[in-house]
Structures are given as C-alpha cells and as structure tokens.
C-alpha cells in the first residue's frame, strides 16, 4: 500500500508536468510585459490591521511620552457627503484609462507625509479621511448539510431578513429563519446554478452553470412553501468566462466587466441582462437604495480615486469621495449593500497586494471606517450583513464601528508653548487610564496630526479588555492665541469604538 507522501509526490509531479506542457513560459512573460505593466515604486504601506502590529509600538509610545508622531499638513479632510434631491445632477466621471494598470496613486496614497520635525515617527499615522477599525471582526460560523467541500452553496437574504441559501447538491433553496429553523424549497426544474440575487417581491434569481463555453441563462423563481417555480428566464445572457460580475440595479441585473475599469459601476443606464419581475412575471423596478462606484478623474487622464454613491428611490443621492488609503482603481464590482441607517457597506480586494479583503463602512455622517482582514473573506448580502465561506462553513462577520463623534471639550484641558506640547500633555492625561491586564494592553497613541494653525490631532486609546467599549478616538483642534498662554484646545470631539459586549449588543 503506498504512503500518502508517495501518492502526493507522484500526483504533484504529474500535475506539474501537465501544467508545464501547457504553459509557454516565454509567451506568457511577453504577454505580461505587453500588458502595459511597468515597474512602479511601491512605498511603505500603512499596516493593514493596526492593532496586532501596533500593540508593541503602542507600548513604546506609552513609555516615551515625548515621542509623538508628527505629520505635516497633508490637507486631508474628512469626506463630506453631498446630498441632493436631483439625481440627474450627478455628472458621470469621464473615462479614465483603458489600461488595467493602476495609477501610482494607488500605492502612494497610503504613504504618510514626511515629518516636518526631527522627531522619529514611532507611531502609525493614518490618513484622516479614513478611520481604521483596528479590531478583528467577530465571526459566527454555521454549517448547512450538503454545503461542504465542492458542494458550494450561495447565500442571500429575503425582504424580511431571513437568509436564503441555494444548495446545488439538492437542487433546492434553504430558508433560514432568525431562530435557526430551516425550510427547504425545491426547484420545480432542477438546474445546475448559483444564486445571483433576490429581487423585488422576493423573486430569487439563479445563474446557470455552463457546461462548455456557451453563454449562461438567468432564471427567476417564485418561492412557494415547498417548491420554487420558474417564472421567467433570460437565455444566453451570461458571460461564461467568469470575468464578469452580475450586479443588481434598479431595473434588473446588469453585467460589470472585471477589467475595463468602467468609470461608473454598475452603469445605471445599462440595459439589464434580465429585468426584475414580480410574482406574476410582470416587469417591475426595485425601490431599494442602489450603490455604485465612480472613478474620479485627476484631470490628466488617470483615475485619482473613487467615490461611492448611494441613490435612494426618493432621489436622495449621498456621495462618499474616498481619498487616501483607498485604491484609485478597484477591479470589477466590489461587494456593496445599503444599510438601513442611510450608509452602506463596501467590500473589495486589494488589487496590488496580499493584504486580503477590505471592508468599508460608509456612515451617514460622511465618515468612512475601514477594517482589513487576511483571515476573513466575507461578502455583503442585500440586508447589509456579511457572509463568507471558510472550511466548509458559512461565516457571518460582524464589524466593529465607531459611534458618531460628540463634543468632548472639558475644563481640564492643557495649554502649551506649541501644538505638539499640548498633544503630549493630552496623551499624558490619558495615560493614567492605561493599564495592563494579563494579555490585554491598553494603549494611547496619536494617529493623525494635520494642519498648522489650528492643528487637528486625533489621539486613540484602545482597551481590548473592555467588553463593550473597545476604545475611543479623541480629535482635538489646537490653535495659537497671541494674547493667551500660547497654544490651547479650541474644540474636541470623541467617538467610541463599539465592541460586541457581554450581551452581544453593540454599543450605540
């Protein structure tokens, strides 16, 4: 009987031979060079997940109060959503580039500005426009029979929030209620397929799997108690190459190519591959909010950034221009979902690096929170929840979030001879609250400093042992006063980082 090592080594050699025989190395290398790629300088990246990387740095900061990260006026400002009731006023961004080449700003944008002083940068500094949520997401895994290994199941949500899973191994949907009970609904016509979307009226749309290179179908199913009935089908509309995302819009499902970097994705005027239908098979539109991504033209023929745009049925348009730290180009269609609070979730992969998946929470007040993870690959479903697939189980991902900032201008605020003198005193004031409890190290650090007069500084404290409030970000406006003692705090706000808490409820 052979050993596993013998089988493995033999299988590896055989597979390698097959691949080698089918790979023209020189031709592929020439292809790569011809793709227009150039060797771009990649500057040092901001650590994608700050907490683990910064814990030791934070200790350094606590021990050496005088070392404060300084950043000269980057001009970064918090994004402000612009709200309008005239969706027609949105100007499509001009086409940026036909190349798949990301602009250099993709990598440049995360580079901290050089310090204007001799003080060493010992503490990570982030772009003020993006708030890092530097804690791991919470994960709630669950399994469903018939969904392991290559029996891939896909997941969405119905209008009432229940989950719906398409299970190819049984040609059926499984509806999962909040209490965990399940209901199986079989297809009236078994079809190798995957779940594309749940449209208006809880009509469920499947994309068929191609058995060769022919184009695929999109099928609409009406859910019954135990049987799902096909009510409409768009034939041969899907790209079988796997390079095209099929994305919901107001009118139906449209195609978004992976690599043409269309300036508006999805294009609201695109002709749907399939229009939404109601339970009677009549064409309808979707009144739910829509999210799209627009590239922002630098004016020199290259994308300088992206804006995320939410459009509600009442005509309200909310725009989050995303600057530093967000790639200027995002491949294909990121995962998007509107949130009930007027914001949205956006999920995309870093096109140029190994940093895994980026989760953005677009908040109604214009703030953007970012969580990055190499461990979890979740995708937003229509309800705004995040689900991933790992080791044969679904994972529900819950992201921490900051509360809206509130006024924090107290009585005991320091003055000093310079803005940095004041910042150091503010850090020192927070230090007595820092303590070490077993493996938990509470930290205080300066995460951003912008402007000259006034200086805007954000100081973050993190309390990993606290089961409810994981920390806070304090943002101070520090200005000079020629008639006063020098520099002082003119305004202050604080925002709390909410953790799950012992009762499973996020702080609000």
């Amino acid at each position: 009987m052979p050993t596993i090592d013998e089988l493995g080594s033999h299988a590896a050699a055989q597979l390698s031979d097959q691949v080698r025989a089918g790979t023209d190395v020189e031709a592929r290398l020439a292809e790569l060079h011809a793709s227009g790629a150039t060797v771009l300088p990649l500057r040092r990246r901001v650590p994608p997940r700050v907490w683990s990387a910064a814990a030791s740095v934070a200790i350094i900061a606590i021990g050496a109060i005088g070392i404060v990260a300084l950043r000269s006026g980057s001009g970064a400002v918090a994004p402000t959503p612009s709200t309008t009731v005239t969706p027609d006023s949105i100007e499509p961004s001009p086409s940026t580039t036909d190349s798949t080449e990301p602009s250099p700003s993709t990598t440049d944008s995360t580079e901290p500005s050089p310090s204007t002083t001799d003080a060493p940068i010992e503490i990570p500094v982030f772009d003020a426009a993006i708030t890092e949520v530097d804690v791991e997401p919470w994960v709630y895994p669950f399994e469903l029979d018939g969904c392991s290994g290559e029996d891939y199941c896909s997941i969405e949500s119905l209008a009432d929030g229940r989950l719906i899973v398409f299970r190819p191994s049984t040609d059926s949907f499984v509806v999962i209620a909040n209490d965990g009970t399940t209901q199986e609904i079989r297809l009236d016509r078994p079809t190798p397929a995957y779940l594309l979307a749940v449209g208006p009226d809880d009509i469920v749309y499947l994309g068929t799997r191609a058995t060769s290179d022919e184009r695929t179908d999109i099928i609409a199913f009406r859910l019954g108690t135990s049987v799902a009935t096909e009510i409409a089908r768009a034939k041969a509309v899907g790209d079988p190459s796997g390079d095209t995302d099929i994305v919901p819009t107001t009118n139906g499902l449209v195609a978004v190519g992976c690599c043409s970097f269309d300036p508006i994705r999805p294009d609201p005027n695109a002709e749907p591959l399939m229009r939404w239908v109601n339970r009677d098979g009549v064409k309808v539109t979707d009144p739910r909010p829509q999210i799209r991504v627009e590239t922002v033209d630098s004016g020199e023929g290259a994308a300088s950034g992206v804006a995320f745009v939410r459009e509600d049925a009442n005509g309200t348009v909310t725009r989050w221009p995303a600057t530093g730290g967000i790639p200027a180009l995002i491949r294909g269609m990121p995962g998007v979902a509107p949130l009930d609070d007027g914001g949205a979730i956006v999920v995309y992969d870093d096109m140029n690096g190994a940093s895994g998946r980026t989760y953005l929470r677009l908040k109604p007040n214009g703030a953007i929170e970012r969580t990055m993870s190499t461990e979890h690959y979740a995708f937003p479903i229509r309800s705004g929840a995040l689900y991933g697939w790992r080791d044969g189980s679904f994972e529900q991902i819950v992201l921490a979030t900051f509360t809206d900032p509130v006024d924090a201008l107290g009585d005991d605020l320091p003055t000093g001879s310079s803005a940095d003198d004041v910042i150091q005193q503010l850090v020192a004031q927070l230090l007595p609250q820092s303590e070490e409890q077993g493996d938990c190290v509470t930290s205080v650090r300066v995460v951003s400093r912008t402007g000259t007069d006034p200086v805007i500084a954000t100081i973050a404290s993190r309390n990993p042992c606290d089961d409810s409030v994981g920390g806070q970000n304090l943002t101070y406006t520090i200005g000079s006063d020629a008639d006063g003692p020098g520099w002082g705090v003119q305004a202050a706000t604080e925002a709390y980082l909410c953790l799950r808490g012992t009762d499973g409820v996020l702080c609000t």
Binding site: M1, P2, T3, I4, D5, E6, L7, G8, S9, H10, A11, A12, Q14, L15, S16, Q18, V19, R20, G22, T23, V25, R28, L29, E31, L32, H33, S35, A37, T38, V39, L40, L42, E101, T107, E150, Y152, P192, A193, Y194, L195, L196, G207, R209, A210, T211, P240, S241, G242, D245, D349, N352, G353, A354, T374, Y377, F379, W389, R390, D391, G392
Partner: protein
C-alpha cells in the same frame, strides 16, 4: 544596463523560475488548469507592479505564492466566479481519476478544509519545509504540523493509503 532594465531582468528570472510551480499550485487548489495558469499570471503581475518592494524580500517567491493562494481561495469564494470555476472543473477535470494516474489525489485534496488543502499543496508541489509553509500561510510551524497531520489522516482514509509519521516533516 540601467537600473530599471536590470530590475526587469531580475523579475524575468523570477518569472521563469516560478511560473510553472505557482500555476501548478493554483491548479491543484482550484482544480482547473486554465484558472490556475491565470492566477499564476496575475500573482506574478502584481509582483511586477510592486517589484521595487518585492525584490527586496528574502523570498519573493513566497510572496507570490501567498498572492496566488489568496486568489485561488477567492476564486472559490466569490459567488459568480465560484460557479464558473465549478462549471469549468466539471468541463475539464484536471488531477482527477478520470484519465489520470494520480488516483484522485488532488480531487480529495480539494475536499479538505481550506487550510489543510493549502498546506498539502505547498508540501507536495513545492516540497517546502514546515517553516516555509508557515511563512507563506502566516501561521505557526506547530499549526502547520498539526494541519498536515490531519490532512494526511483524511487523505489516507479517502485514498486507502498509509499515513506517514509526521515526525518526517522537516
């Protein structure tokens, strides 16, 4: 030769040395040679774009493998691509018992949990040590050993093979 040209030559060396191995790795993980080859190309393209950083690493090949593993995992996870990948797997089986003498080894590997699948592929395709696998997967060497042990147990049961002593792992 200028610095930029020299960098291109150095990248080309890496490409020629690694592309087949990385494509094999991605093929084993996805079950499709075309997808595996595309993933290898994309991973190496990313290395090229980031060459000024990647070239300073001790083992640029490890960085590229990590990218390829992420891409392969993502190809399975992302819903539409997953479906397409599966349909292509069904259309053009690679590394399966059909017409192959590998005894269905890779098919069984792809039924393993993701971490086990990746560790086994790196172990056999690239003949990497436990420490090298740990570096690429960003987990501890002890976890790699435990993962390989579990994976071999499952594979032995599925394939009717003899397990090997995990003490043999370097």
């Amino acid at each position: 030769m200028g610095q930029a040209e020299l960098e291109v030559v150095r990248f080309d060396d890496l490409y020629r040395r690694e592309v087949v191995s990385i494509a094999t790795l991605a093929t084993a993980l996805t079950g499709d040679r075309d997808i595996g080859t595309d993933i290898a190309q994309e991973a190496l393209l990313r290395a090229y774009r980031s060459w000024s950083t990647v070239s300073t690493m001790d083992r640029p090949g490890a960085w590229v493998r990590r990218i390829a593993i992420n891409l392969a995992a993502d190809a399975r996870r992302k819903r539409s691509r997953e479906a397409h990948a599966l349909e292509r797997i069904e259309a053009r089986p690679v590394g399966s018992t059909s017409g192959s003498s590998d005894g269905g080894f890779w098919r069984e590997v792809r039924r393993l949990p993701e971490r086990q699948r990746t560790a086994i592929a790196l172990r056999y395709i690239d003949d990497l040590t436990v420490d090298e696998i740990a570096e690429i997967m960003d987990i501890s060497s002890g976890t790699v050993k435990a993962t390989l042990f579990k994976a071999r147990q499952s594979l032995a049961a599925a394939l009717g093979a003899t397990e090997v002593d995990d003490a043999d792992d370097r």
